[in-house]
Structure formats: structure tokens, C-alpha cells
């Protein structure tokens, strides 16, 4: 056999595309003609986890499908009732799965959107990369540092585009704030504070046998086994440290991403993390109802304070907006509601035009949202668009897994300091806690067989 004959058709097409300096992505089924948008250009996706945010992702994919740019090949969920409902919503031609690993075996699937509970993110992302799939994974990217490192390594080894769902990086309000701050309009920023509503108290119901519709073993996945209790799912997984980590790992993963973007700090890690928190008085939920985490950064020196509830410095006091951030510079302050998705920043940032020679910040705005309308979903579309372009061009997505991991590190260490009841000194280069061997042991967690990295 000649060398050429041994090159697979897919590999040949990829190589040919790259050599011609055109997007190298070739969908699994067929090759499109240059310049023509049609069925041949479609990316074939599968969605793993279709409740909650997974339902939102399905909506965005159906819009893309309607535009002729995406095929939806499969949906997966461990809750059969929910899976059946989503299959019905999505229509014919979409295959249902309980076990995501069947999807990974399919050669026609190019990419997976993972919106399972947090404790599944890393394992499914790594497995998907190993199977040659591009990945869009919900935030936080992982629940342990070890998982996050494995995700970055898998994305790089298999050269997959792994986008993390901190979609403010594709949102107009966050972009305006980022551009304003990076151009020095509030001066040197020395402190950023965040506010968020309290974590919930609850989950007092007793354990019960799992309902027939739910595969409890698959729901638990990598987590240690425990008896079934409805307090753990679906949305309430957020309130349990192992599976959700509370709002610091949920909204924190959004807010910290936006802060790191605005501060141009994607390469910077905190050097100390110290958490104080109250204790949950009853129920299964074990995240602190109130907490304050102080992160210090060096060179440049600045501080992030995550506080629940904290001081609510909202631009929209008449609206029920329960989280956001305030940037304190030596010349001015800028408040950004939520994570910089749904609410416009103040007029000064909204109307700011980058001067010649100023800092231009990457923007994805294929889907316009000129009026900052509350409830707009366009940032979700733009974040997918960025991912698709990354898949097609080979560049890294705007919220590449490495940035997502660095963001998750803040969420994870904030909770770890609370759990351990002590201040942590962090070495971002080595990704180790300094002088605390038993805390370092907790940077990873053994995973149940066979649901492991």
C-alpha cells in the first residue's frame, strides 16, 4: 500500500484544507463545495444532558438546524421521561440515548454539547475528545483541579475545539465593559467585588428508591455511590458540594470568567484564597448559605471578593437581579450586572469607542442584540458561533478549555478553603497548594469505575 493510500479520506481532506489556507473542518458526512452553504457544510452535533441549560442548548441547535448549518443526530439523558420529551420536541431523525458512550462510538457525530451536572463534565469531555469529537461543555468545566488539567490535556492531545459555556465572552454587555476597562477608562483596577444571593438551605426529605425513569447509577457517574434522594436532582444538584458546589461554582464560573476577561488576566492565577462561610442548618444541601471568598493576585496586584449575599451594587435596582460585579479602579468604578450577558453596562461603557491605537477586544456578534433586551438568547447563539468557527478554522474558541479551567480553579479553591477551614496558598504554575499536603490530596477525587477520566 502506498503512503497516500494509507491516509484516510478524512485525514486527506483535513490536510488538503489546511494546505489551501481554508477552514480545515470537514463535516463527517460529506464535503461541501467551496463557497456554498448547504447540507454539506453542516456540523453534526449530539447533546448530552438535555434538561435545564441543555434545553437551552437544544433550542440554539434547532435554530442552527433551521438555518441549514447543523444536523442534530442524537440526544442523551439519564432521565427517560425527559429524554422522551426532548426527542418529541426535536422531531424525527434524532436518536435517543441513555448512555453517552453510544454517541461517542458514532462516526457521523462531529461534536458534542455537554450539559450534564458538573460532576460529569470532565469525564465526558475527555472521553469525547478521545473519540475525536469537538466539545461545548457547560461551566464550571470541572469539579476538581485534576479533572480540569485532564480536560486541557485531552483538548490539546486530540486537537479538539473545547468551548466552555461561560457565554458572556460572546455577549455584548460584557464586551463593552471589557473594552472600557482594558482601555484604562477607570484607571488601574485594584479590586473587584461580586455579589450573589445566598445558597439554599434544604433537601430534608428521606432517601427513597430511584424512580424507574431515572438511571441513578448513571446520574451519579464518577461520584461516590450514595442512596437515591430527590434532593440531589435535577436543578438542586447545584446546592450539593460534590455535584454542584453552590453558586460560586455556578454563577461564579460566569462572573469569574468575565472578570478575568475584563482584567486581561487569563494567564494569571490567585496566589491566596481564603473563605469564610456559614453552615447549612439542615438538609442534604451542604454549601454555605453565606460566604465570602478573598482572592489575591500578584504582579499585577489586585483582589477579587466573592460574597454571598455581599453588597448589591446593581445598575438596575428595580429588577430582581441577584448577582453581578463591581470593578474598582483608581479613577472610577464600573458595575456590571449578572455576568455581563443580559444587562447593559452603564452608558459610559456602552457608548465608549475604542480610540486609534486603543485596545480592541475580540467580539463575536453574528447574532445581533442591539437593544440589550432582557432575556435575549443571542449571546448563547454567538457563543456557539464562536465554537463552530473554531471547529472550522482550527483556532481556539474564545472560552477555550484552558481559560475555562483557570476560571474553575477559582471556584474550586474558594469552596476548598471553606471545606478545609483554612487559607490556601496557591502556586498557579505548578497547580499546587503550597505547604499543605492533605489539601493537595483534595485537588483530585477518586472516581467510580468505570466512570472515570
Amino acid at each position: 500500500m502506498t503512503e497516500r493510500a494509507r491516509v484516510s479520506r478524512r485525514r486527506f481532506l483535513v490536510a488538503a484544507g489546511a494546505a489551501a489556507s481554508v477552514p480545515y473542518f470537514v463535516p463527517s458526512r460529506v464535503l461541501a463545495a467551496p463557497g456554498r452553504t448547504g447540507a454539506n457544510d453542516r456540523i453534526t452535533v449530539a447533546l448530552i444532558g438535555v434538561g435545564g441549560m441543555g434545553g437551552n442548548h437544544l433550542g440554539t441547535m434547532m435554530r442552527y438546524r433551521d438555518m441549514g448549518e447543523v444536523n442534530i443526530a442524537a440526544l442523551c439523558d439519564v432521565d427517560e421521561q425527559r429524554l422522551a420529551a426532548r426527542i418529541k420536541d426535536t422531531g424525527p431523525g434524532v436518536d435517543p440515548y441513555r448512555d453517552y458512550r453510544y454517541i461517542l462510538e458514532r462516526k457521523d457525530v462531529d461534536a458534542a454539547i455537554i450539559a450534564t451536572p458538573d460532576h460529569w463534565h470532565a469525564v465526558q469531555t475527555v472521553h469525547a475528545c478521545e473519540a475525536g469529537k469537538h466539545v461545548y461543555v457547560e461551566k464550571p468545566s470541572s469539579v476538581t483541579i485534576e479533572e480540569g488539567k485532564a480536560m486541557v490535556a485531552a483538548a490539546r492531545k486530540y486537537e479538539r475545539a473545547v468551548q466552555v459555556g461561560s457565554q458572556a465572552r460572546s455577549a455584548k454587555p460584557a464586551h463593552a465593559a471589557c473594552t472600557y476597562i482594558r482601555n484604562g477608562m477607570i484607571g488601574k483596577v485594584h479590586k473587584v467585588t461580586c455579589w450573589h444571593g445566598r445558597n439554599a438551605i434544604g433537601g430534608t426529605q428521606p432517601d427513597t428508591p430511584p424512580p424507574p425513569r431515572l438511571d441513578w447509577d448513571l446520574w451519579l457517574g464518577p461520584m461516590r455511590w450514595r442512596p437515591h434522594n430527590t434532593a440531589y436532582y435535577h436543578g438542586s444538584f447545584r446546592q450539593v458540594m460534590d455535584s454542584g458546589g453552590g453558586n460560586i461554582r455556578d454563577r461564579g464560573a460566569h462572573v469569574f470568567s468575565t472578570i478575568r476577561w475584563c482584567m486581561d488576566a487569563d494567564g494569571q492565577a490567585p496566589v491566596t484564597v481564603e473563605t469564610k462561610g456559614t453552615a447549612n442548618t439542615k438538609g442534604i444541601y451542604d454549601c454555605p448559605p453565606e460566604m465570602e471568598v478573598v482572592y489575591t493576585f500578584k504582579d499585577p496586584d489586585w483582589v477579587v471578593v466573592w460574597a454571598q449575599p455581599g453588597d448589591r451594587h446593581t445598575n438596575y435596582p428595580d429588577q430582581n437581579n441577584d448577582f453581578g460585579m463591581a470593578f474598582y479602579g483608581d479613577q472610577d468604578t464600573l458595575i456590571l450586572d449578572r455576568d455581563g450577558t443580559r444587562y447593559a453596562p452603564p452608558e459610559k461603557a456602552r457608548s465608549f469607542q475604542t480610540p486609534p491605537g486603543g485596545v480592541e477586544v475580540y467580539k463575536m456578534d453574528r447574532f445581533k442584540n442591539d437593544n440589550y433586551e432582557f432575556g435575549s438568547n443571542e449571546y448563547n447563539m454567538n457563543h456557539k458561533e464562536d465554537w463552530f468557527q473554531a471547529i472550522k478554522t482550527g483556532r481556539r474558541p474564545t472560552m477555550d478549555i484552558e481559560k475555562g479551567h483557570q476560571t474553575a480553579v477559582m471556584c474550586i479553591l474558594g469552596n476548598l478553603s471553606y471545606v478545609l477551614g483554612r487559607k490556601l496558598q496557591w502556586d498557579g504554575e505548578k497547580q499546587e497548594i503550597i505547604g499543605d499536603p492533605l489539601a493537595n490530596r483534595m485537588l483530585g477525587k477518586p472516581q467510580r469505575h468505570p466512570y472515570h477520566l
Binding site: 429524554l83 431523525g93 435517543p96 430534608t204 442512596p227 442534604i284 499543605d436
Partner: protein, 214 residues
């Protein structure tokens, strides 16, 4: 749970583990009694304060709290478990090896036959965080328990050092065929490959009953 007097348990466990007893540093017995009374009380704020501060009492409270973990009242049992975790996390802090060893010495006997599986599972995970070579033998013994072997495997995987690795290697020969893959995974994680056992993590096994739309 077998009846065991706290003091006897503490002394016995410490002696078995070959470490100094925690008696010298023990807080007054009334601290332990007060802790347990508050945890068994009906005032949820007092109960919460009690378990949050259990770490300072340390090893002498381990066995009494473990006993309360079997309480039929869910909140009482939960508070006891959380108090126990507080002890573990505090004992694991830097420069506190004496406290860590004392806590481990109290935890290890709780893995013995006769204690509730739910409590033993919790203790396995506690030892995964603060256990050392002294914990390996009692943890490894549970690799023969159908109910607890997976948690025991995870604990051994996490406890660093040659003793835990040797225990995993020895377990490969002693466990049933249905558990060898699990052991192999831990060995792989610890840098030891076993021939003839390729990784099965991506092999699908669970089919849905949901049908696609026609």
C-alpha cells in the same frame, strides 16, 4: 452498631495503630458530652454550632459522633456526620500530624464488621483524605465486601505511598473477576499497567427504552 465505650475505643484504637494516644491533649470529657447533647437536641442552631465546632474537640469525639450517625432522626445523624468531617478536615491541616494520627486511630476501628455500611462508607472517604500507611490494612480488608469494596478501592487509590499501592496489587489476585477491572483502574491511576485488562471506560452498556420518532 456494637456497644463500645468511647474511652476504651480511643485507647484500643490508638494502641492498635501504634501511635500515642490523644489522651494527653484530650479536651475535658464534658466537651464531648456537650457536643453530643447539642447534636441530639432539637435546637437546629445549637446543633449546627455544635457540629461546626467539633473539629476543635478532635479525636475523642470521633467514636461518639459515629454512634450518633445511626440516629433515626435524619438531622441528628447528618449533624453527627458533618461534625465528624469537621474533625477530619481540621486534623489534616499542616503541622498537625499528631492530631491526624489520633483521628485516624479512632476512625480505623469504625471500619470493622458490625458497624452500619453507611457509616463505614463515610469513614472510608474520610481516611482517603487523611489516612496514611496505618490506614491501609483496615481499608484493604473491605475490598472483600461487596457493599463497600468500590469505596475502599477509591480510598486506597487516594492514600499515597507504597503501602496502598502494594495493597492494590495484592488485591488484584484476591478479588473476584467481577472486580478486577476496578482494581486495574486504580493501579493504572497509580502508574501500574496490567496486561490483558484494556480500559473499558468508553464501552457503552446502558440502552434506553425511548424510541426515536418515525
Amino acid at each position: 452498631m456494637p456497644a463500645r465505650k468511647p474511652k476504651e475505643a480511643a485507647l484500643g484504637a490508638a494502641a492498635a495503630a501504634g501511635v500515642a494516644t490523644a489522651a494527653a491533649a484530650e479536651p475535658p470529657r464534658r466537651d464531648v458530652e456537650e457536643l453530643i447533647a447539642k447534636i441530639k437536641g432539637k435546637d437546629e442552631n445549637a446543633r449546627t454550632d455544635a457540629w461546626v465546632n467539633a473539629g476543635r474537640i478532635g479525636a475523642p469525639a470521633v467514636e461518639p459522633l459515629a454512634t450518633v450517625m445511626a440516629d433515626p432522626d435524619l438531622e441528628t445523624a447528618r449533624a453527627a456526620k458533618r461534625g465528624l468531617w469537621k474533625i477530619v478536615r481540621r486534623a489534616g491541616r499542616p503541622e498537625a500530624d499528631r492530631e491526624r494520627k489520633a483521628a485516624v486511630a479512632e476512625l480505623a476501628p469504625l471500619l470493622e464488621e458490625g458497624h452500619p455500611d453507611g457509616m463505614r462508607r463515610e469513614v472510608l472517604w474520610m481516611l482517603s483524605e487523611i489516612g496514611g500507611k496505618e490506614s491501609v490494612k483496615p481499608v484493604a480488608a473491605l475490598l472483600q465486601s461487596r457493599e463497600l469494596r468500590e469505596d475502599a478501592r477509591c480510598a486506597l487509590e487516594r492514600i499515597p505511598g507504597g503501602h496502598s499501592l502494594k495493597a492494590l496489587q495484592a488485591a488484584f489476585d484476591s478479588v473476584g473477576d467481577d472486580f478486577k477491572q476496578n482494581i486495574v483502574q486504580s493501579l493504572r491511576k497509580r502508574g501500574v499497567d496490567v496486561e490483558g485488562f484494556p480500559c473499558v471506560k468508553r464501552k457503552p452498556t446502558k440502552e434506553t427504552q425511548v424510541k426515536p420518532l418515525a
